[in-house]
């Protein structure tokens, strides 16, 4: 039987996502890929595999899944209630998904995007060098109930690890740098922008999220006739009525609405994961500060594997205690090191 994940039931927005398809901006295709790229890095660390492997992104709600053979899984991103044949599974952790068992993942308890990672990664077809669904571009589409996703071969066996995720599911302050059009906004508007508490609107998707505030809209001095210019993920676009949109992975590649600034890549997961109503604030940092932040974050992500700890199992959670291999289940906690090539 082909090594695959069967989707028995799924929310409306299950998509296969990897790091996206950089290199096609010139053809109008934004990079896309996982809305929360940090979650991909966390899943990769938990499974000890490259972060470029594709995972299942679950927007708002999970589904019910079954593996055609034993598989390793990891659960990251927005915490969702997960159960394996009725037994609760820890989030931000790696587990064994035995052949034939039912994995049920519910709605997000906090945040927006949860991720189901598979040992070996999802091996669905590529288009323009990526397996990611780019919904806005019409490249691939959501994964529907009844379908099977092929899964690549897995060379490792470690499961039962957890990590402490970077806090990003409850809003907070996000940092941004000035961009091309920041200077078009009067200083007072920039001050007010940083002093305003925004709430994420119910309108939001992989392209971007709309932000609401109690005060008046934000306005620049040039109006609606600016020449369309390059857009990058993280850009905060101010539409004609003064409402900010933070643009995410699947954003358009050019646009004419002025951008008040650009959210740092390191802070973009915090925006993507904000659920409707969540409070967000903005603060400008200099480009020099931003570069230092990005470098530190890249280093932190590269070291995620070092922060794993063994998952403590409660005896009552072990489904079949007699069948459970207590001896091999007790390790020196150095599986990761030993499995490094």
């Amino acid at each position: 039987m082909i090594r695959a994940l069967i989707i028995h039931r799924g929310g409306p927005n299950l998509t296969v996502q990897d790091l996206g398809r950089p290199g096609y901006l010139v053809a109008g295709v934004s990079r896309g890929g996982a809305a929360d790229r940090l979650a991909l890095a966390e899943g990769a660390a938990l499974l000890g595999q490259p972060e470029g492997l594709a995972a299942l992104e679950m927007a708002g709600m999970g589904g019910e899944f079954e593996a055609t053979e034993d598989m390793r899984i990891a659960l990251t991103g927005a915490p969702m209630r997960a159960q394996l044949d009725g037994v609760r599974l820890a989030w931000n952790a790696s587990h064994l998904l035995p052949q034939g068992a039912r994995l049920a993942i519910g709605g997000a308890e906090r945040g927006s995007f949860g991720y189901l990672h598979l040992g070996g990664g999802i091996a669905s077809p590529e288009s323009l060098g990526s397996r990611s669904a780019h919904l806005a571009a019409g490249i691939f589409g959501p994964v529907h109930a009844g379908s099977e996703l092929p899964v690549g071969p897995d060379v490792r066996s470690q499961v039962g690890y957890r990590l402490d995720p970077q806090a990003r599911f409850e809003g907070g302050t996000v940092r941004l740098v000035p961009s091309l059009q920041t200077e078009r906004f009067p200083e007072a508007e920039l001050k007010r922008f940083q002093a305003t508490e925004f709430h994420r609107d119910t309108r939001g998707n992989r392209m971007g999220v709309r932000l609401l505030s109690d005060g008046a809209g934000f306005h620049d001095e040039t109006g609606l006739s600016v020449l369309s210019e390059v857009i990058v993920p993280g850009d905060v676009q101010i539409t004609g009525d003064g409402t900010p949109f933070v643009l995410l992975a699947e954003c358009q590649t050019t646009g004419g609405y002025p951008r008040i600034g650009t959210v740092l890549p390191a802070d973009l997961p915090r925006v993507a994961q904000a659920s409707a109503g969540t409070a967000l604030r903005f603060v400008f940092v200099t480009r020099q500060e931003a570069m230092a932040i990005e470098r530190a974050e890249a280093e932190r992500r590269a070291g995620l594997r070092g922060g794993l700890s063994p998952l403590i199992r409660r005896v009552e959670d072990i489904r079949d205690l007699l069948a459970y291999q207590l001896i091999s289940g007790v390790t020196a906690g150095d599986d990761l090191e030993r499995e490094e090539p």
Partner: protein, 252 residues
């Protein structure tokens, strides 16, 4: 090379500015002009061939060349100096248009329920709907850049009367093949998406064909005539395939 602090009223070009944390934009003007458009295309080509190390991706917008660099390796100041040196090495405004250009004729229904904002756009341009159709359909426009969505062309330049702003509110969705207008330009939508541009015509042309060997059909420098046809004609050519009745011939 260029002082970034010159007053907004008189910016000097070309101009190098940062985009986000890991990008640079080289702008050849602040309004659309053919020399600036040609310069942006030629400079991107030069960056791809002989740009400084560390560049990960390049693209063009209407009058600018964009590059994204590897933030984690190398010194961004060194990279910027390399870009500025290349910029100073030639007169990019004097460069020719790209090779292999084509003239496309794309059947288009103007107005009707298929393109409900023709009358509103015509009024904004100070024309009757009939005059607006003539003005747009008889202007040979050029693909100035591909952007916003996959394979999606920005075309220009229309008569000065069409220097109309975008809408303040977004239209919820225009269909694939929608022809829209603002600021003397046309955009032919390759995807169905919200937009601030006014929907004045409808074609059956698919500018992005993910299943094809040539997913991106139009190229910068190509020219297009949007021939006015009746709704029945559009339905017929729509059934014939993704070209929607469009024809292409090589330009000298």
């Amino acid at each position: 090379m260029q002082d970034d602090t010159v007053s907004e009223a008189e910016p000097r070009f070309p101009r190098v500015r940062p985009v986000g944390v890991d990008g640079l934009l080289v702008s050849f003007g602040d309004r659309l002009s053919e020399p600036a458009n040609r310069a942006a295309l030629a400079f991107r080509d030069a960056l791809d061939r002989e740009g400084p190390p560390g560049i990960e991706e390049t693209s063009t917008s209407l009058v600018s060349t964009y590059l994204r660099f590897d933030l984690l390796h190398g010194d961004s100041a060194v990279l910027q100096r390399g870009v500025e040196a290349l910029l100073a090495s030639d007169d990019w405004y004097a460069r020719p248009l790209p090779h292999g250009r084509r003239l496309w004729r794309i059947p288009t229904v103007f107005g009707t329920a298929l393109a409900p904002q023709l009358e509103e756009a015509a009024a904004a341009a100070g024309m009757t709907p009939e005059a607006a159709i003539r003005s747009v359909s008889e202007t040979r426009v050029r693909v100035q850049t591909i952007g916003f969505a996959p394979g999606q062309p920005y075309l220009g330049e229309l008569d000065e009367a069409w220097n109309i702003p975008r809408q303040t509110a977004l239209t919820d969705k225009v269909p694939i093949g929608a022809l829209t207008v603002a600021i003397r330009q046309l955009v032919l939508f390759s995807v169905s998406t919200p937009t601030g541009w006014r929907h004045i015509g409808q074609t059956a042309f698919r500018a992005f064909r993910p299943e094809s060997d040539t997913p991106f059909v139009l190229r910068p420098g190509d020219e297009v005539l949007f021939d006015a046809v009746a709704p029945e004609v559009l339905e017929k050519v729509r059934a014939e395939g993704p070209d929607g009745g469009a024809t292409a011939e090589a330009l000298p």
